[in-house]
Symmetry: C2
Amino acid sequence: MVDNTSTKTSTDTITLPWASDFHCHLRQGAMMETVTPMVEQGGVRTVLAMPNLTPPLTTAQMAVDYGKALKLLAPSVHFILTLYLNPDLTPEEINKAAASGITAVKMYPSGVTTNSDWGVVDLKMYYRTFQAMQDNNMVLCLHGECPSDAEKGICILNAEERFLDTLRELHKDFPRLRIVLEHATTKAAVECVRSLGDTVGCTITAHHLFITVDDWAGQPHHFCKPVAKFPSDRDALREVVMSGHPRFFLGSDSAPHPRKAKQGDKPAAGVFTTPILIPLMATLFEKLGCLDKLEGFISTNGRAFYQLPVINSVNSEPITLIRSAAKVPDAFDVKGMESEGETVVPFMSGKELAWKIKTS
Amino acid sequence: MVDNTSTKTSTDTITLPWASDFHCHLRQGAMMETVTPMVEQGGVRTVLAMPNLTPPLTTAQMAVDYGKALKLLAPSVHFILTLYLNPDLTPEEINKAAASGITAVKMYPSGVTTNSDWGVVDLKMYYRTFQAMQDNNMVLCLHGECPSDAEKGICILNAEERFLDTLRELHKDFPRLRIVLEHATTKAAVECVRSLGDTVGCTITAHHLFITVDDWAGQPHHFCKPVAKFPSDRDALREVVMSGHPRFFLGSDSAPHPRKAKQGDKPAAGVFTTPILIPLMATLFEKLGCLDKLEGFISTNGRAFYQLPVINSVNSEPITLIRSAAKVPDAFDVKGMESEGETVVPFMSGKELAWKIKTS
């Protein structure tokens, strides 16, 4: 093991700190009640909760209330709260949000993913908001895709690459504002983030480290936005993770939908990884031969970027993964949903992972 | 109108010859009984029937028997019969097939689409078969995709482009063998076919002239193989059609699947256009401002390539399209299927076309 990790590995166990997931959809109602307790089950005790609810979290008070609801469902988990960038997010509201302990603001371009109908068309109109965020040391989280526009040649395959100029411009105009490019899926995005300054970070999901376009074509449970792309793009994501680059870290973008919404004539976008997240990452990192980079990716790098206290398996209670061919459940029940017998299907449904979390 | 078309257009009517569809899946059993009569309903009276049945049509006798079954269902339609390239297709069997009136042999690379499990891995092993086909003036139809292989960087987005070297090589080695690159979806394929000799033709589907990757992501009824790609690819398909290039012609690749097979957790690949084919094409060609190229694309070009008699609206009974906002049915019943109430959903389901076929 390298020096900057507290992880202890043997042939059959891995001991490491509880992980941090810097991008997660915990939903509302019955789905929230189902998936929020699964955060800890997946090996995570710090989670950044996305604000694209119905209605979206557009005020400090709404985010604070949401945080309280989540905390009741998972008392051991630290929730990082976010707001949905929108015209009501004035500099005054940003000041209030910062004073309320809200960490980040999420920008969705209009129409690119689930509940992005309220999304942004012109970023320039938010420059006063970004200035206030920079002044308050808040983080700007970007869903980095341009809306598709066939006339301009933009489709879901190049929407991320086409967005990168916007990222460069924002970073140039707000060099002290911490910006996270969320769920990078392309080599172009990896190279862009690498080229920028220390205030620009990048999350990578678990599933984008596994799948390519071939895996979501004809497999709606692998369909998400941004879509997984070429093998060369997946290679670039894996390489930057294997290199241990400190500005790349885990943001699962775990996004549960009821099975019915995934298997209809218009499957919803989103891959659900919350309950298996850290065993999934350990399985992959072992396969890639970079278990020494696991702790950095799932904890240290993101916590440093978000200016959270360092935790490690020495200064805090660790988790232990044990080698055990553990079958991922086919589906999880969602109790209390309108449609009886509704379930949510996880990534790797019915398949085996190499590691599981040891429960006491 | 230009001189080489017999089409007569007015504001509200188009009179043109019955069309030819040089790539169509007519299936077996209940689905065959449902869709075969729809060929004529869609404005087509010559149709090349694909051999990827279960089991595939691997002998002359099987193809002849299939042709008889189809003819019973649609007596006015001329069926062009095909064989599935496989190791039993010896030069002797090719001679027999040619003598039986079978026109073409279809090559599927292993594993690329519906019922391609019997597909080809190494084309060189079929060179004696190709020689016999060339000697018998038969046509080789190619599903032009390399199987996906992440190690080689091949995925469904570049599988067609990666195949083009194989097309070039086959054409070089068998310059007199007529070869059709089926269902082109990329600019690269269009440019490749343009660059080759007169013995290389190319079919384009109706749906690939409409959709891009954005339309099948999260919309299983638009999912087919090869997948629709970038807007720039669709532009290239439209441009070659608008140019009236004589070696590009309609092969719908209409591929019906029961609705249940399209909306499960692994939607089958295929778009169903048979019952609306010519009204669909007329609607598009009018939008593209190239109605003068419609007859070439849906009849003359393909018939010349396949060495079929010229038909036009003077020397044969024509069809008449009338301008009428005609709603495409949401779905068609498939009677006699094992699952009760099964349907098949057409392209443009529930949407309006600008033209419909005048029935007497």
